[in-house]
Symmetry: C2
Subunit: 340 residues, 2 copies
């Protein structure tokens, strides 16, 4: 049997995303095969395609996020039946320490074959029932950013109702998920962006304050809006703007570090951190326990991921370019075999 | 009445440390006057004398650390009697949030008159019974570094028995106190220094591993000694070596930031922090609650601060130069009015 899939044979540009007919994967003992209906796109897919992660291997099928139905089960798998609608935990081998993943941890989709395909094989423990209140594209938009955002805000960020959260750089899948979850938890949220339109969208979603970081006085504007400073900042950007993050956090506050799309912090003046008794807490993805708790949280609060646009699988190159341009608000999703 | 004191009239070098006869301070309501027997030196005294802190004011008497006897009490002070041997909490106005001090927080000794004097006036709540098992110089060496080290290791660092702790830059008052407290708590300690003699001294005090950071392979040596990585690093240095600190911490580990004697971190590559799920926890000094707990801990474990050398008050310039040169192992103390 064969299936349609996107195969990357060597690291490079979007022209490396080859739409092909390849052999169907077969589930081994303890594994299940999922017929993928929708696959969510992540910036990781792009970095992995460019070969910018340690331990990438090619050829490989990209894609960490997938929703679909169980299609075949391997030996010893009893709790799942073909036809079950499922969502996939987007990594494996976290290990037994909730504080950090072990050495064998890997993310689905390069090096292991991922969800840009009609079928994907994963450990049975990695599939969870698809939340019934979500559409297919919404469900495909949830796993990686839902997991990451949940761990940022709660497992690592210890967010409490009534606290002020700053989300610099609103607009992408992770940032919009942070906004949805933080407001659902009763926190008060401020956002920044280089685009006024994205700030307006965030306000419609519940953000109480926003500032355009291209304006020279945006730090003062945010200080004015939140005079006591932010209890929690979830920073996905890093770069030169990180000094503003440190300045805007309240004394004794927490800054969760979860990305560096703006590059390294060029000079970190430590007294600004230690005289304020700040916590900088690094995180990335999350454990299966985080994932289960995230699904419970989303169900309880009926969190619906924002889907910006759905592309057919065969148009994956256009989809990744659209993601990379950064104009979207919410997630970009591929339709693999589901209904349009 | 007058007293002998060291007065700094304007920021500058050690020649600004003027040994003078000045008016005796008078305790106001809720305050006590302490006859200082010994005063501990801290690097802060030097930075403050140079005017390198916000909100310094001159003229002022330096000195955060002091031990002595209650000499006079202000109105409303009932729990203390002249003659009581006491140790001084080296700051005031922490506020009501244990996570961080409030805006009114200030450290004893520039801007407020400190312990480089025969008498110092402090709030009655800031004096604690002198631990009877300590000599005068040992007791004077305890407050600021004991408070800071306790908060680093326990309040912020959450140190547990059996964990591995790295103390870069052993030798100064804070680092030696960290070593004493961490080993007393049942932790395993490694140290670094640029001087092999200091590493040898630290091993005599209980450090199980050490490496000279002037040697190019010192990070490999420490990895070899502690293959799983350090559960906790207490970094007083910052600077370019901070990347080694990040590399040596175990995944999910904690790095307490409490100094930057080597300057800013020139470039902080955030993925090295967030892919390891590290915590960077800033701290400085500590609250009165930290201080009380620190004194309990020291009493329980009979912690004796390492005193490197005692200078007479009149030789304060030589004492500060000796401190600044960094050759000491342990604390430098001034004898103010106590027995030699």
């Amino acid at each position: 049997m064969t299936m349609k899939a996107i195969v990357v044979r060597e690291p490079g540009g979007v022209d490396q995303l080859s739409y092909e007919e390849v052999a169907d994967p077969v589930p081994g003992p303890g594994e299940v095969r999922v017929q993928v209906q929708y696959a969510g796109l992540n910036r990781r897919d792009v970095y992995a395609r460019m070969g910018q992660y340690p331990r990438v291997r090619f050829p490989a099928i990209p894609g960490s996020d997938g929703v679909g139905v169980v299609d075949a089960v391997g030996a010893g798998v009893e709790a799942l039946t073909p036809g079950d609608p499922v969502l996939i935990y987007p990594a494996r081998n976290w290990g037994d320490d909730e504080r950090a993943p072990g050495r064998a941890f890997e993310i689905l989709g390069i090096p292991t074959d991922g969800t840009y395909a009609e079928h994907v094989v994963v450990p049975a423990a990695n599939v969870f029932p698809k939340p019934g209140y979500l559409t297919g594209p919404e469900a495909a938009a949830l796993p990686l950013v839902g997991l990451t955002a949940y761990r940022c805000l709660f497992t690592r960020g210890a967010l409490q109702a009534g606290e002020w959260v700053l989300i610099p750089g609103i607009g992408g899948g992770l940032a919009t998920m942070l906004l949805l979850m933080a407001t659902a938890a009763g926190a008060r949220v401020a956002v920044t962006s280089s685009q006024d339109g994205k700030i307006a969208r965030a306000r419609e979603m519940g953000a109480e304050a926003g500032a355009n970081y291209r304006q020279t006085d945006y730090v003062q504007d945010l200080r004015h809006a939140v005079p006591a400073g932010f209890d929690l900042v979830v920073d996905t950007l890093g770069g030169p703007g990180f000094e503003d993050v440190v300045a805007l956090a309240r004394p004794g506050g927490r800054v969760v570090l979860v990305g560096a799309t703006a590059g390294p912090v060029p000079s970190l003046v430590l007294p600004r951190i230690f005289l304020k008794h700040l916590d900088l807490r690094g995180t990335s993805m999350g454990s299966p326990l985080d994932f289960a708790r995230m699904l419970d949280f989303c169900l309880e609060h009926q969190i619906r991921p924002i889907v910006d646009r759905v592309f057919p699988l065969a148009e994956v190159s256009a989809a990744q370019e659209y993601l990379w341009d950064g104009g979207q608000f919410g997630k970009v999703v591929l339709q693999v075999s589901g209904q349009a």
